[in-house]
């Protein structure tokens, strides 16, 4: 039995005669029992007719009184359909069946078929086939629906129609309590889709979203009057709406058409640390004048195997800092994180992650793990406060080891660094104080030594060594009173910021 009350009868009558489908009638009657929507619509339609037909017995007086008003107000075309139903039980079976069949095949003026054929088992099969075709791995899914905008206009028109027609009867028809088309659609489809998927839970919140979109080109013009309106909210005054749009909405010949099913898995986040042992590897693909300069990049070497394992559609890579193309990254490795967009696979155990880690070549990746939520601490450029480097230094004048030992005694040397010329084209010109906390030297030969540095983050080491046209002061050339140049640079990453 449908959970309808006597007071719903005139509403049901009005809606059916306006060309509403059975489920839309339930919606307007604010029926929130999901099972009522799940039963076949033909069934519901029959029950609705029975329901309004019953009035002749129980609420005869009231119902007759109501019907007196109707001839004048009802659209003439709908009239013949409504008439027989009023006599209810006395109707001969043949003509009722015919009428029902006629109403069934009619496209609902409000939902344009969404709650009719477009939410049946066939539709569920179509959705499931699309999902399976994309070969996603998932435990649950959430169904999302996108409806043509004109459904709002039609819904409002129908609501106004019922409201104005039944005003005198003090029928309270709160628009907020009306069940949304989307809601009803999901109630029906969720269980159908779950069944077709063999028991996967279709829930209200899941990382895996399956989107169904409907369009209805025939009535796209329904909304046009809204664009020419100066009124800020066209739904409130009613009069404006009534003068621009028919109430109830006009019958259509076609129903909505379903667009391609869109599947989307929320991002998965992967993090780890990397060491770079090569002096000819840029961080990102290096393209100058549309031409590729280096074969690969840190980003690509790490991302390619991970993206393919997670079967992701794309990725965003970030690392805590970066090194120049010719700088090696040693020590515990530089932390990085990756957002994998629309991953088709998102479950890996520890062994699988380890195997994936080993698939990354040229770059050494360690501590690889993944997470369903964004790692908030991972921000581009987030770095340790102190950084350690080793540089191979060339001196123009020959040196002996005694010439450089004084450098080991220098503590907390403050530099005035102008933005290096090599990055000045894209950075603000400024003079920044930077501290070199300590340095160590290791003599190699009369023109070479290794210089270890512990510096404040943001110190430009190359410029400290060669001086950058005297724009970093003091610089190593000044300290050693000879031209110096940097031949190799390694950054040593400490343990601290494991994200």
């Amino acid at each position: 039995m449908l959970p309808l009350k006597d007071k719903d009868k005139p509403v049901v009558q009005k809606l059916l005669s306006a060309g509403c489908c059975a489920r839309c009638v339930l919606r307007f009657c604010c029926v929130s029992v999901q099972a009522a929507y799940r039963q076949p619509q033909q069934e519901t339609l029959k029950e609705l007719h029975c329901f309004i037909g019953d009035t002749t017995d129980s609420g005869a007086a009231k119902s007759t009184e109501e019907n007196k008003d109707e001839p004048a107000e009802d659209p003439p075309s709908k009239r013949p359909k409504l008439e027989p139903s009023l006599t209810g039980a006395e109707l001969d079976q043949g003509s009722t069946a015919e009428k029902l069949k006629d109403e069934e095949s009619q496209v609902c003026v409000v939902c344009l078929g969404i709650l009719q054929e477009l939410c049946d088992k066939n539709q569920a099969i179509k959705i499931v086939e699309a999902v399976k075709g994309e070969n996603y791995e998932f435990d649950t899914l959430v169904l999302s629906v996108s409806l043509p905008a004109q459904l709002c206009v039609r819904e409002h028109s129908c609501w106004l129609h019922v409201k104005t027609q039944l005003r005198e009867k003090s029928i309270i028809l709160g628009k907020d309590d009306v069940i949304q088309v989307k809601e009803a659609f999901k109630w029906i489809m969720q269980s159908l889709v779950a069944k077709e998927l063999g028991g996967v839970a279709v829930v209200t919140k899941s990382p895996f979203e399956v989107g169904v979109e409907f369009t209805h080109p025939e009535t796209d013009a329904d909304c046009h009057f809204l664009y020419v309106s100066n009124s800020s909210n066209i739904f409130t005054p009613g009069l404006f709406f009534l003068s621009h749009y028919p109430c109830p909405p006009i019958q259509t010949t076609t129903r909505c058409s379903a667009q391609d099913v869109q599947c989307l898995h929320t991002s998965v986040f992967v993090a780890g640390r990397y060491n770079k042992f090569c002096r000819s590897l840029p961080q990102t693909p290096w393209v100058i004048d549309g031409e590729r300069r280096m074969e690969s990049s840190v980003e690509e070497l790490i991302a390619t195997p991970i993206v393919s394992a997670f079967r992701a559609q794309g990725f965003n890579f970030s690392s805590s800092g970066r090194e120049d193309v010719d700088v090696r990254t040693l020590g515990n490795g530089r932390p990085f994180a990756m957002e994998l967009l629309n991953p088709h696979r998102s479950r890996f155990n520890r062994v699988q992650m380890k195997q994936l880690q080993e698939k990354i070549k040229q770059i050494k990746v360690t501590h690889l793990y993944y997470h369903r939520e964004a790692m908030s601490r991972m921000k581009e450029g987030e770095e340790e406060k102190t950084k350690s480097y080793t540089a191979l230094i060339w001196t123009q004048k020959p040196i002996c080891s005694e010439d450089i030992t004084f450098i080991d005694g220098i503590k907390d040397l403050t530099l005035e660094q102008k933005t290096p010329l090599r990055v000045l084209h894209r950075r603000v010109l400024a003079v920044r104080p930077r501290v070199i906390h300590s340095m160590t030297t290791r003599f190699l030969d009369p023109h070479h030594f290794y210089l270890g540095l512990k510096t404040q983050a943001g110190t430009y080491i190359k410029e400290f060594v060669h001086g950058d046209f005297g724009r970093t002061k003091p610089n190593l050339c000044q300290l050693l009173k000879t031209e110096t140049d940097i031949l190799e640079l390694d950054v040593e990453v400490g343990w601290k910021p494991l994200i």
Partner: protein, 182 residues
């Protein structure tokens, strides 16, 4: 100094300028003999204006008396300031825009020019304090100014300049001319 070893390391490690900059030259600036300028263009298009090694200031043991970035009553290159990543507010220079005037102790005076179109980013204030830098390290710490060409002009601005080979040819012809003089 061990010259053999030095040559070895130079082969192994070209200087910072060799690695990242292209040298361009303007010979006999404004028709004045030997007033050669050298423009170092970084691969990121930034240009550093310097004196070429052949410039008269660097010859005959001259010393510098003064360097003046005030190029007219109304315009001082020292007042140049740029803001933001886009370097708003920098003075815009054309090929023949003067950057500074240098007076030597022998009272000879020379004007140094931009040589390229672009926005002035900075001038070298270090040489005001230590003019000797200009003589000791004309192509590094003794630079004159830094200019940022427009992105779309970063290739075309050097079209009127000489490459290093072309400049060396010009210079060698000069020395021939000097030698052939009676």
């Amino acid at each position: 100094m061990d010259s053999v070893e030095e040559r070895d390391t130079e082969i192994k490690a070209p200087s910072v300028i060799d690695r990242y900059y292209t040298r361009w030259y303007r010979a006999d600036m404004k028709g004045k003999p030997c007033e050669d300028h050298c423009i170092l263009q970084h691969s990121n298009r930034i240009c550093v204006v310097t004196l070429a090694e052949t410039h008269p200031i660097l010859q005959d043991g001259r010393t510098i008396k003064s360097i003046n970035y005030q190029i007219s009553n109304g315009c001082s290159r020292l007042k140049n300031k740029v803001f933001g990543k886009s370097k708003r507010g920098g003075q815009f220079l054309t090929d023949f825009a003067p950057l500074c005037r240098i007076t030597c102790t022998d009272e000879s005076e020379y004007t140094i020019y931009s040589c390229i179109r672009g926005r002035l980013l900075e001038v070298n204030e270090n040489i005001l304090e230590r003019p000797a830098l200009l003589l000791e390290k004309p192509s590094t710490e003794g630079y004159i100014a830094v200019i940022l060409p427009k992105f779309e002009e970063s290739k075309s601005i050097t079209e009127n300049l000489l490459s290093r080979e072309e400049f060396e040819r010009v210079v060698s012809k000069r020395s021939v001319a000097v030698q052939s003089q009676p």
